[in-house]
């Protein structure tokens, strides 16, 4: 029985499948090399990170209260949002106060994708510009990211060039270097004129109130430095106890997501510009987003809240590689998405994603915080209830009576068309020409 997921995956152009497969294979390789060169004892590093995250989940409420107090002391304004609607309304309020029709520049943030912030800001008359190269292309295409770290993993250079051309940008070639230069030149003006910068948060330290944002391009630092107002949107689970926890997590995240020792920019925000400082935002806001997370915390899928959003499980997943991110129809795709999407939005809307897995376990193996993703997928499957129809009852009915069995054997070649989804990619076994009983009776 083919699911909607399978059907969507089958409709993907071969070119997309090729792009995703090549890129994710390269990322797997990059991760492997980085981990080998950064960690002498990777397993113990990973166990330590998982234990820290376990501590965070056990003490989430206290740590968040501590984070709030630290942020307030640093001059950061803290807002709590129970759901997407409340978060959007809050952010909209801050943006509208900054300017009636504001220019908003954004650094890459999955949390804001999750709540559909851009559409909302645009509806209310603000202009929103995504500034990460991949996200910029996604926005021009009116598309959604197909990978949480590499948003245009499904596209190649000719696609990007075509997108640019249809929006009045004229790259001289389809070289990635040239395409990046065109985006850089175009976005410079936006950074300069922007009223508000919006970013995500990778880690927030409860004891110091430090908001940590990592990136490679510099767009995130520009977005959170040049405009007068900075709004950081963070899922509740991203809090860490102390500054000293950061080193391990920064290394794990960089190695797992992009195969680096450390990302190019690690931005440690500790508050707005001080009176004697020449630049930086005058206001810094932190929006703490629940949107289903506290429900997950108290349920069977709790451990998915340890996720760092490194994307390593997407890159290594045989299903993601074949299906690409859009097939999951959710902000979060891949193995992580197959757990987080039903966790956030309920198993009834996205529970079917739990079947988009071979349960091979590669996701858990590469997870820097050792999340038992296959186990969580099984829990969702059990809750959804409907397992795909197995052919065993049919087989049993025929196998119980020899007459039926003989009839079935004779009819077998006729049912071959039914097995076409299977045989399209595999050999249909050739019958030996004679069945066992006849061979037994006629043996010399």
């Amino acid at each position: 029985m083919r699911s909607d997921f399978d059907k969507r995956a089958e409709r993907l152009p071969l070119k997309v499948v090729d792009s995703v497969r090549t890129a994710s294979a390269n990322k797997v390789q990059g991760r492997f090399q980085a981990i080998a060169s950064v960690f002498a004892e990777y397993d113990s590093a990973r166990r330590q990170a998982a234990a820290t995250k376990e501590y965070v989940l056990d003490n989430l409420a206290d740590l968040l209260v501590e984070l709030e107090a630290s942020c307030l002391k640093n001059g950061v304004q803290v807002h709590w949002a129970e759901d997407a609607e409340q978060a959007n309304r809050l952010i909209l309020g801050i943006v509208s106060r900054a300017a009636p029709s504001a220019l908003v520049v954004k650094g890459k943030s999955m949390a804001t994708e999750e709540i559909g912030l851009n559409e909302r800001l645009i509806q209310e008359g603000h202009q929103v510009v995504e500034t990460d190269l991949g996200e910029f292309v996604v926005q021009l295409d009116d598309d959604v990211p197909s990978h949480i770290v590499t948003p245009i993993i499904h596209k190649d250079r000719t696609d990007v060039k075509r997108t640019f051309e249809s929006h009045g940008l004229s790259p001289r070639s389809d070289e990635p270097e040239e395409l990046a230069a065109v985006a850089r030149a175009r976005l410079r003006e936006e950074f300069r004129r922007a009223d508000v910068g919006i970013s995500g948060v990778n880690f927030a330290v409860a004891s110091s109130g430090r908001l940590v944002i990592v990136e490679n391009e510099g767009n995130n630092r520009l977005s959170t430095t040049a405009p007068r107002v900075h709004i950081a949107v963070m899922g509740l689970e991203k809090v860490l106890p102390c500054d000293t926890d950061l080193a391990l997590f920064l290394r794990l995240l960089a190695a797992s997501s992009t195969g680096q020792r450390l990302t190019v920019y690690t931005h440690l925000v500790c508050g707005p510009r001080r009176p004697d400082e020449p630049d930086g935002p005058e206001e810094v806001h932190l929006v703490l987003l629940d949107n289903g997370r506290s429900k997950i915390l108290n349920g069977a899928l709790r451990e998915i809240l340890k996720c760092l959003r490194c994307g390593a499980c997407l890159n290594v997943c045989p299903v993601y590689r074949q299906a690409s991110g859009h097939t999951y129809r959710h902000t979060y795709s891949g193995p992580l998405g197959a757990v987080l999407a039903p966790g956030l939005d309920g198993v009834h809307s996205h529970g079917a994603l739990a079947f988009a897995s071979t349960l091979c376990g590669a996701c858990q193996e590469v997870c820097p915080v050792d999340i038992p993703i296959p186990e969580l997928l099984l829990k969702i499957r059990a809750e959804v209830g409907a397992t795909p129809a197995a052919p065993w009852p049919v087989w049993a009915w025929f196998a119980q009576r020899s007459a039926r069995w003989r009839m079935a054997l004779k009819a077998l070649p006729m049912v071959e068309p039914l097995a076409r989804p299977w045989t399209e990619h595999r050999e249909w076994p050739e019958p030996s020409g004679v069945d066992f009983r006849r061979w037994w009776d006629q043996r010399p």
Binding site: L133, P151, P176, N216, A226, A247, Q260, L268, G271
Partner: protein, 158 residues
């Protein structure tokens, strides 16, 4: 001013590792005289301008081709330079100009991330590890997408 012998030896080790890791991420090391040879307009941190009296300064920081500032710390393990925002340390200086020249006192190099993080105070800090890069298109590495394309570290003992 030379420090105690033991510390000096240690500093030299950190410098060698820092240098190796910096070049791994696409940064380079140059000497002091290289700064004046950079083409285009300059944005130079207050307090350093006196070292290069003849250079053309950009009236608008967004027009500068080369930014010059001091690092507030460095990490040998990762080849990173760190900047803390302050009255004479604009945050945009390490971001806007396509070429970023960093003066680093080798004594400011911490062996690893843990040691550097332990020294952070309540200012805004940026840890910069190599020039700006992206691999968003076909996984191909491109430098200088929004931040600087070149990161040049100049040893500058105080």
């Amino acid at each position: 001013m030379p420090g105690p012998r033991l510390a000096q030896a240690q500093v030299a080790d950190h410098w060698a590792l820092f240098r190796e890791r910096l070049s791994e991420v696409g940064g380079e090391v140059a000497d002091f005289s290289a700064v004046a040879d950079c083409p285009g307009l300059f944005w130079i941190q207050e307090g350093l301008k006196g070292f290069w009296p003849g250079l053309d300064l950009a009236a608008d920081p967004w027009e500068a081709m080369t930014g010059v500032c001091r690092a507030d710390m460095a990490v040998a393990e990762t080849g990173s330079v760190l900047f803390a925002s302050g009255p004479d340390q604009p945050r945009l200086l390490s971001l806007l100009p396509p070429r970023h020249v960093v003066l680093l006192d080798p004594k400011q190099i911490e062996p690893n991330l843990e040691a550097a993080l332990a020294r952070l105070d309540r200012r805004n800090w940026a840890i910069v590890t190599g020039p700006s890069r992206t691999a968003d298109i076909e996984g191909i590495l491109v430098r200088g997408v929004h931040g600087p394309r070149e990161l040049i570290v100049v040893p500058f003992p105080v």
